[in-house]
Symmetry: C2
DNA sequence: TTATGATAATTACCTAAGTAAATAATCAGG
DNA sequence: CCTGATTATTTACTTAGGTAATTATCATAA
């Protein structure tokens, strides 16, 4: 396989694994946190809002939201258009999120820490250019 | 989430999806091809050889190899040390692989095509440096 | 007003990866 | 030569993603 593509896959697997490790103390998985953070930043959202924003398919979000609901992080309710399902954080989630965010920031700092600011920007640019 | 990490995840999801699409005509999934190619290049390998080389956990390879075996791409046999399981390509796989490799090369060329050779090298270097 | 087409979410089923624990074979020391 | 440790693989269970098809609701045109 092309070494570049191989490296992207490799790096992602490792990053995801490490992120899961870092989130273990909060009883969360990486993708669950991604959804939580999304709702945290944007307030009430529909499932469609979420999966379009995160660029994944709808069933993925149905699953993760259902799980987060049973775990007590999220609450859902129907909108005026009763096809859509809105999502909001529970009080417990709201209370816990800042601490989790700190964990994430520490992880991210470590993860990209071996690159200078300039290199990070360059890497981001190259990834985006590689469409 | 840090935009850089987010972009790596995003890009990988997309790449994997596209690679699966490209491999559909050969009735293969990306990870299956990765294992096949590994055996294609290195000849007979044990499961441990494969998962260490690909940097994934052992159960992942057990599963993929089992699947590829039932699909007729791979054959397995015990080594002298009867704990280890060796893997080799079947004749059908050997016959088909060159054509599949061509598909892959075309895909890869397209996937990294928006970057110059120099940018590709730079991107690879930066990814590897981001440990 | 109702039939039709579009949209939101879900369901069922698949690959892909992980962890933890179990099994089986081998190896090393006493 | 036996026992305990190590190694290779597997099993069971979980997250994370995908596609295809289904269900429920909505909007609109005849």
């Amino acid at each position: 396989m092309n070494p570049l593509i191989h490296e992207v896959f490799q790096k992602t697997r490792l990053l995801q694994k490490e992120l899961n490790q870092a989130l273990k103390q909060h009883n969360l998985f990486a993708s669950q946190w991604t959804v939580l953070y999304c709702v945290y930043r944007h307030g009430e959202l529909t499932l469609t809002d979420i999966w379009k924003y995160l660029n994944v398919e709808a069933p993925t979000i149905t699953r993760t939201v259902t799980r987060l609901e049973t775990l007590g992080w999220l609450r859902t309710f129907a909108g005026k258009d009763r096809r859509e399902k809105f999502v909001q954080l529970t009080e417990e989630a709201t209370a816990k999120l800042p601490e989790i965010e700190a964990t994430i920031l520490a992880f991210e700092k470590r993860a990209v820490g071996s690159l200078t600011e300039e290199e990070q920007n360059l890497l981001l640019t190259l990834l985006k250019k590689m469409e």
